[in-house]
Subunit: 523 residues, 3 copies
């Protein structure tokens, strides 16, 4: 399949006169003029024909495949509806109230018993799970007039042509307290509005990229939004499951929100690992019932309050904003945390731990400000390589530096030094806070915090030094450096939403909350 | 032990006239002329005598130790037998049919009962384990003429001077179906031939390096090759164990094959973590028996098919080659997967998830091709630092660029930008695919996929820009840059197999599959 | 909250004449002259007033907050007492013998029953735990004159104004054998003296930084020092818990001491994951009782020897020093390990595994020496950017290069290439050793070892090449490069202890072990 014809590369590339050669090697396959594309040249080297990436062919290292893009997307809504769509999987199930459309595979109206009968064959496990749930046992609750089983139809309806997927509203018909609490949190909570709309869809790393690339963002934010089965998985919906930290770990993990890993790295987590399987998870989250705190123990608490922020101090954008949570005006909340630790620890011990957290956060921000000083100094002298205007437009259509107001952090379409800065504030500064708040001391200092920020600050200064030295040399010898075109264009870069944006695309009044409610708003 | 004599460093280094000083500091200890070695100079600074690294001395930061190399290796076989050997541990146990030689510690012929008696003292745990296994219980199977216990001798023989280690062939005497299935997979499967020979020993990152450094490759590939105890660990050999995902996790983990971690990061994995210890793992892998899919649930299936590829779509080199698995010609396989999800999920839900995977893969390759375009453009202008010819020869004896046909990806003996490219295709492009295929959405976008590829693409462009700017400056002032010698030589670099290769070393016809079967071929 | 006033940035910065602008953007907020600070300029851009970081305000990306520093620290002791303090949490609980002061919240003398009564309300879980412990059951031991319960007062005293926190000495009153063993290890063991004093407080990455940043170091080192509840957590103190690997994992994890993760990645770890919850952890660590070795199985052993080094070979500074553990003079210890493996494995198998480890270590050091050669060559020509003298002073007040005698590895306040070297020896060389010693073959070669060292060596050579090329260019055009001031100063950098050091600060005779015993010394 592979022919070793390196000579061809030179020949073809040069003869064909790829307009961008050799800076970008060759034009993208999506370019519309007749010049040979990257794929054409790759084809001559690897000996495989150029084809579409959805034709089922296996392409050697993917070099001769042409990007086709998703052919099925759901329309966006709100402010950015003209430039951003969704993959079906992103919206269909993650905000069922707005997007779900029944599959209409079967006709007729069915009772729950009939559903169970057929679905024992069609999707057998959900029947097993439902049968193991309280819903199948029947009973009388405040919300129900008589003893009854909560059957399939209670959540999905009876008409198979018009099935629904349950949302917070559906579950809230019986679980009113939990619904009210779930929706009562502010920014950063699990409430559907804050999670699904604002935090995700209007942030550079989501809205600035093609829909298929950021489906993963929406998936977790959707899990925690207008649904209950993010924490109470189908079809058992067990409270005991939602009390276990692993449930939370589906989302609260990874480079910028590693609460799960940090907690696991603490004594608390290790004790859970060793004996958690012997605890009775049907019991309330009290010190007598649980040997160590878990996610739910601290953030849901003894009363099962489904507003996960009810114990928190003010939300500080995942820790990217600086806040001293030990200051006098936050005393009531701080005292609440200390009280929670008193299941095992003296108030002084708890207070000292949290004081250490405060100080660890403070010093992490000195490192961050030192880095920003170096970076902004470089920017002011026009020494970024490239400067924002030499990048693709960001999703607003403009070219704003990441660190300046209006320049929401981007992971791509940035210069190297801007990316280093984004990592420092999004991953590392937040890491110090979250590791400290979950008592993973090794991470605060070593694995995720101080020593990692050290590395980043050295990198940033080294990058600044190199850029300055090269620039000084260029000035000395009379070279006027122009950022290379590959920063602005390329097969992937050309897909960024910034390029799609036209005058008037951003619909500022799209969400008037009246006759035209926006995606995710409560109806 | 440490004397602070920095002055000595200068003195000695300069007076002694290290031939390579200061570019490479000094000659390697393995050089055979009289010039002082790196170790000699280090000795003058650290005040510790130079010695061999296997003499049992503790060397401060290892600076004054001389490399001795392994004194016991097994001969290689096949095409590369003249340039590549094996550490005993690599071959002896991992391909027992070919390499195992009995230890001959004890003389005599023994019955199983006698083995058990003595080994209750010698290696007590394997006796405990065997006694807990079905093998010790006895019974009648299709392969056995009468009721019998499968004792020690059934696998190891009776003559203690000629003990054997069991291979797939040994186990296959009774477990014929499983053996047949195990061996029936194609490239990328667990079958011994594909795993042990081709994938590993003839790839640059294995064959291009000293044997002791790549023992780890062979170990995992051996586990899955001509043995059964990679998944059914000794001496219980429990099917229930092989059904648990942790068994698979011994190999299917880490930077380029993190299926295990990705699955664990999904809802499926989290539910296993929370309640898997309460499931009955002796049962068949059906939806009724297991609440969530595991490795074996999807890849072995209800019928216990030991060809782990029987459900797969075409193998795409771990995802390094591009393939749309949703295209019409792969419909039967895709439908098979969707059917498997139907234990719990509607066909539409499953199809949408897999469609999202397809699209996530497609866009990941646009980023990869954009990177390759930048890199190859640089290569065509001769701006790599160093260019291939300024590196050590690769294992073929030549100097092929990683991305060109014939240039199998190398992790070392590459320029920085080639290494960045290797990471992108081997770690990141495969990461998007594998995370998506195992429903770790956070990883697809955030931790292992899109945003990590963003980082890499910025790095690659930044490197390309710096190399171009420096080169332009050099041309402007008339400097002709020569790659530094440290790319070609050094204590470690000089050990690469490329340097050992002589004319005729690669024996193309070594494996004629006839009279001279090669290492790992079935006899 | 955020005003988009980029223009202001230029204006204010330029008009105000920040003395360091634009190299460091502006002076730090802690500078005492009248020039505008970084925070002042940030304030003009982000529209938020400058304030103290402990005033409870939320600062947008922390840019306008002023560092205040900890207002409560405990005095240091010993050699560095004049330049290094401790956060209370670091010392108060981690070395209770020396630092603990009773909280004095309640007056009176109490019997254990009375403690229990009140603390069932105050800290209920510790009462539950104590009641589940052997201490609450009562009995007669060699150390006790009569049958008795080990009540609260046995460890904490009776006078609530003078409560004590138990140390090794306290527990040792009854557990004399364990205390003796715990304290009998040499450097690198759990003994309090080696752990708490020497290894941590007198090492560059601890003593060179502000106290709040390195609290995490002391926390783990304290856990293993003058206390027993690091491994036997309060208030159950179960031996069965200390036998489980997760207990050890609180500290033995992360970038430079990932023994826990490596073991988990081995077959041994995976088998524990799958069936460890069914084993009886109250039993002695013999092959018959445990199917796979765990941390305690190998390092504590059958006799429960609390000197975790009693099985080890010579301590080699976490593997940073080179040592062939298979050499003849270490035969007795090697044979001990092989014997331990004989629960399941033949001596030859075990020996071959350890031989592979030896060789894997040897080759890792060739790569390290090759790197050092490149780096020291660069240093000798004065091509580091910056050179040590252009950095802040290290904690000794001097400027010693990391790799030279006297230059203890620093993670910050280093040039980029020095940091790369530190990572190689501290993280990667040790990683090869620890992964091999815990049979995580995938990590030895792939994830943590050889291929990661490859990456680092390419980075180091690439950095050396860039620095040389830029320097050659500068010389050619007559530029004399001066290291930028941001390497020496900045909001964080100015906090390093090197700047605090005055003549006479280091009290060499502070620890005379006589009338003036030092912090952590046994009294």
């Amino acid at each position: 399949m592979i022919r070793s014809v390196r000579g061809l590369l030179f020949m073809l590339a040069i003869i064909a006169g790829c307009t961008l050669l050799p800076m970008n090697f060759c034009k993208s396959a999506n370019a519309d003029d007749a010049a040979p594309t990257f794929q054409d040249v790759a084809s001559s080297i690897y000996g495989q024909a150029v084809g579409d990436d959805d034709d089922g062919t296996m392409y050697v290292f993917g070099l001769t495949a042409r990007y086709t893009g998703p052919d099925r997307v759901l329309p966006g809504e709100g402010k950015f509806k003209n430039i951003f769509n969704y993959l079906p999987v992103t919206a269909l199930y993650y905000n069922p109230d707005d997007y779900y459309v029944s599959t209409q595979k079967v006709e007729g109206e069915f009772k729950s018993d009939e559903c169970v009968l057929c679905h024992s064959i069609q999707t057998p496990r959900i029947v097993v799970d439902w049968k193991a749930s309280k819903h199948s046992k029947g009973g009388k609750t405040a919300a129900m007039k008589a003893e009854q089983v909560v059957g399939c139809d209670a959540c999905h309806g009876n008409n198979h042509q018009e099935l629904t997927m349950p949302s917070v509203t559906t579950c809230g018909k019986c679980h009113a307290k939990e619904k009210r609490e779930h929706l009562s949190g502010g920014q950063g909570s699990h409430g559907s509005h804050t999670i699904w709309d604002i935090s995700v869809t209007e942030f550079a790393w989501q809205i600035g990229k093609p829909a298929e690339e950021v489906a993963g963002c929406a998936q977790c934010h959707g899990i925690a939004g207008n649904r209950c089965d993010g924490c109470h998985t189908r079809h058992q919906f067990k409270p005991s499951e939602a009390r276990k930290p692993d449930t939370c770990g589906v989302c609260h993990m990874g480079v910028d929100h590693a609460e799960y890993e940090f907690w696991y790295n603490s004594f608390h987590g290790k004790i859970y690992m060793m004996e958690g399987d012997t605890w009775d998870w049907d019991k309330k989250m009290t010190p007598k019932n649980y040997r160590t705190p878990t996610c739910a123990y601290c953030h849901i608490g003894e009363d099962g309050n489904h507003n996960v922020q009810h114990m928190s101090t003010d939300y500080a954008h995942m820790g990217m904003f600086q806040l001293d949570r030990g200051a006098p005006q936050h005393k009531a909340k701080r005292d609440g945390w200390i009280k929670r630790c008193q299941g095992c620890h003296s108030p002084r011990f708890a207070a000292e731990q949290l004081y250490a957290m405060d100080e660890q956060i403070h010093i992490s921000f000195t490192k961050w400000r030192e880095a920003v000083g170096v970076i902004v100094g470089l920017y002011l002298e026009g020494l970024f390589d490239p400067m924002p205007a030499d990048l693709a437009p960001d999703y607003t259509g403009g070219h704003t530096m990441n660190l300046l107001p209006g320049g929401a952090p981007r992971f791509y379409n940035v210069s190297n030094i801007e990316r280093l800065a984004v990592e420092m504030i999004v991953y590392q500064v937040t890491g110090v806070y979250k590791a400290a708040a979950h008592f993973s001391t090794d991470d605060v200092t070593y694995n995720a915090g101080a020593f990692v920020m050290d590395r980043q600050l050295v990198k940033i200064k080294d990058e600044a030094s190199k850029l300055r030295r090269i620039s000084t040399l260029e000035k000395e010898v009379g070279i006027e450096h122009q950022a290379f075109d590959f920063w602005k264009h390329g097969e992937y870069t050309d897909l960024l939403t910034g390029y799609k944006r036209q005058e008037g695309d951003i619909v500022e009044d799209a969400c008037d909350h009246g006759d035209h409610p926006c995606f995710g708003e409560e109806h």
